[in-house]
Symmetry: C3
Subunit: 366 residues, 3 copies
């Protein structure tokens, strides 16, 4: 190696500047071909990809806006409430959401609640024998109000702690079966979804060009016959998600509506078409049966005279549909780069230095 | 090439270990310069970027919280409803949203609805001659209730199927023009936006340090004169999005408010300033004129006595503003890497092996 | 360099095909070892990573669904409103949100508002001497209505411009202190979070397998004793975020609940456990004290007779909890690539060409 002593080796090691060895082939034919290929690639990238397609950015995430409109009416005839028709403003709660809508499927209503005192719903912790079992001002976590400290008759045989609360209290131990609004299965929802990739100045909506008003008034999404219709029957979506609507309607749940806009903008715009899929997002069969379904409580407030406020409490079970929009443009430039790299191997046979078994070097090109 | 037979070539091919050839230049000056540059880069990365700036992570997505507050009042004087002042709790629906707010611009109210029976709004499918044209229990998709099976007088000349529904039915064939709340153009909205990049322990809000209460009480966002004021006039935003407020107010729509926090944290924090832009997210001029605008229905429920519930149904047209916060920290380390790579080309002239046209190799350095 | 003239150099430069010089070591032992290592890596990637683990995709973002349920009751006893018990449907507004819930902590109610005329709340711009100081039809930005053009008595000493508005007007200059619903600190919230990585066909929820109904009924999240309990005490979350609940309850704010599902799916599924953290998202101590806290206004509408509509206006201060779910699967393949790269350096000593100080080249291997 031509090094005289140890110190010299160290210095060489420390001050040695390392770099790749490059091979330059001075053959006019090869060189011209090489430059021509380089020029064609650069021209393609510069003119077509970057200027015509404006695809100089490799990827871009989707910006999406969603609006939904549910349609359908249900007539219920219960002994308590009589004949009642449920329309959209009553069963879609709240009336509008950004990417989500909730359809009521089952109801436990409690009418005529007002601020007063009443006995708690019986449970292990609310049953009592005498006032000493109750604690004034105590609010039991799973209770409905604040205890007054008195133990009162709930029924002929049961005494429970009295609470200050919205009375009468809700009793949600029995859930209506079948679900009161099980017929919501036949409701339809129009989903309007506009997407844009700002870097590519690309905009599109899920109501495609060829869809006209006549078609839109009568169509329903069907993966085989109407894959582009943006109107979905609730029951169909739940079935595609692998669930039984009548079962799910009882205690509620969450269904994801996935709209997939993964488009390759190298292809014409008409090939960029949304793909729909549906999946249950919450847990259907928890092994431990803890907190199943989806429900919440809300109230409608009334004043029958100036001073007294009453309310109807509604425990609402239902299906929340979350619209989740995907979309990522595939990398145009990566593909170009890869192609460039491959062309560089054109003369790969010239790149090798052969080292024989005995360790001697062999001329670069024989 | 020194290979004796075909088998030998295969073996050579199979057991040949390929690697780049590296060039080491043993020149103390060059080597020292090379090591010095290497040391400076490593020192910069280690001390300044990684230790002082804590920017060892190259990118981080933004965590954002948004809250909005609309201000403004409108007086309307319609023959039906009389003089009415609309304030925020009445025209912002729902009163709060996570990243979105809706401002009512046009209204079709239907007063005094109650559960009863009435003739359907005339349409191709609801008009009838006799009871046999109607079907008891049938709920037409675009209808307002459930048919009772009777055919009744809608007007002197028209008969339609009777429905069980919230009657009187809404008639939304005529949309108020100009929009009832077209003056919403002058409303303002304060947008409070806090962002954080947890990995960089960086927090900032869009109400910048130099903005004081006095300025905030009177300013309105203007791209030229007040680019940092977080109070936006609705009309200005719609104009910047390229729309006409009075037209958009008629049938509603969706406007995106984009807040761009793309900051390079290598620069001082004061250069990290949000950029606002506005764009219409839904489709303005659908070729097929299908389902334009943005509207939804909601109801206010009343009880004038214990038993009867009435409601005011409101078909609400308006503009939904979606606040979309962007932000990605630029990669510090990538830049460092690139710099390193460039310095490696310092002695690029030594990296070439020239191969003459006749195929003979030329000494590495002449 | 063997170039004859300037033109020749240029041509050489233009038509020279550059490529890296590769070294091939023809040693059967080294080659066999090299191929064996290559084979093992490919086999590992193909069989274990791609086929057994199905981890051929390097990363996948999380799809998450969140639902929340708050529990707790508060009894308030104010001179104005008397004894009142607040339950969930009253203090959680709106009753359901996608990834967010709001808990009321302080209230300024204004009862019995109806459309009429009344003097404005006194301020610098609303005080007047005579009718000429007021402007009919003018709606002051921070005002509560539309001016009628008259200057009327607000109190014995102060005159303000009269407005058409929902009267009586709200006076929010004094905020109740301590907060009316400061006891909301003891409320608990059950957060149900289901996540899925569709590419990996991986689903999990934050109610882990070992959590049973009995445990879930009584547990409260505690970082040390109950780190997997999905029920959180509001006060604890606010404390972990470094805030004082009683202070925050006065004017409201925004708390982020972060659920981190960053899992490495190379490890068994039971190691994939959510980590919770809490942080205040809005600005606590703005230097300029501009627009602090979080509040909004909403109204409950009543009709005491057919024609007159009254409402209760509520200025609601409270804490908005935003549930933010993170999650990204670590890149399996990147690690594999890195390992491959390292093995390529096995024979790094053969890669160097030494260049002496005098510029002469040295045989590739001595």
């Amino acid at each position: 190696m031509g090094c005289k002593n140890c110190c010299s080796i160290c210095l060489q090691c420390l001050f040695g500047y390392e770099t790749n060895v490059m091979l330059v082939i001075n053959n006019k034919g090869v060189g011209a071909l090489f430059r021509l290929i380089q020029f064609l690639i650069i021209a393609y990238v510069a003119v077509y990809v970057c200027w015509v397609q404006r695809a100089y950015q490799d990827t871009d995430s989707v910006i999406s806006s969603v609006s939904t409109k549910v349609k359908g009416n249900i007539l219920t005839n219960s002994s308590a409430a009589g004949v009642h028709v449920w329309d959209v403003p009553e069963y879609v709660i709240p009336p509008q959401g950004e990417n989500t809508f909730f359809v009521l499927t089952n109801v436990i209503p409690t009418l005529g609640q007002r601020q007063s005192k009443c006995p708690e719903i019986p449970s292990e912790v609310t049953k009592c024998e005498s006032d000493s079992d109750c604690k004034e001002g105590y609010s039991e976590v799973h209770g409905n109000g604040v205890q007054t400290g008195r133990c009162v008759q709930y029924s002929d045989t049961i005494k429970t702690c009295e609470v200050q609360a919205w009375c009468p209290l809700e009793n949600d131990t029995v859930i209506p079966k079948p679900a009161l609004l099980g017929a919501a299965e036949d409701f339809t929802v129009l989903i309007k979804n506009n997407v844009q990739y700002p870097k590519f100045k690309f905009r599109k909506r899920n109501i495609l060009h060829h869809i006209n008003s006549t078609y839109l008034k009568n169509c329903t999404f069907d993966r085989k016959t109407d894959p582009h219709c943006p109107i979905f029957r609730l029951g169909d979506m739940v079935t595609e998600a692998g669930e039984d609507f009548s079962v799910m309607a009882l205690k509620g749940g969450i269904i994801g509506i996935f709209i997939d806009w993964n488009c390759d903008l190298d292809f014409p715009e008409r090939f960029c078409i949304p793909k729909y899929s549906f999946s249950r997002l919450d847990n259907k069969n928890p092994e431990n049966n803890v907190a199943p379904g989806y429900n919440f409580r809300f109230a409608k407030y009334y004043k029958t005279n100036e001073s007294t406020e009453t309310r109807t409490l509604i425990k609402a079970f239902g299906i929340r549909f979350d619209v989740i929009v995907f979309g990522m443009v595939t990398a145009v430039c990566d593909w170009v780069m890869l192609t460039c790299m491959k062309d560089r191997d054109l003369y790969a046979k010239h790149k090798f230095i052969h080292l024989n078994q005995n360790g001697d070097s062999v001329p670069l090109v024989s």
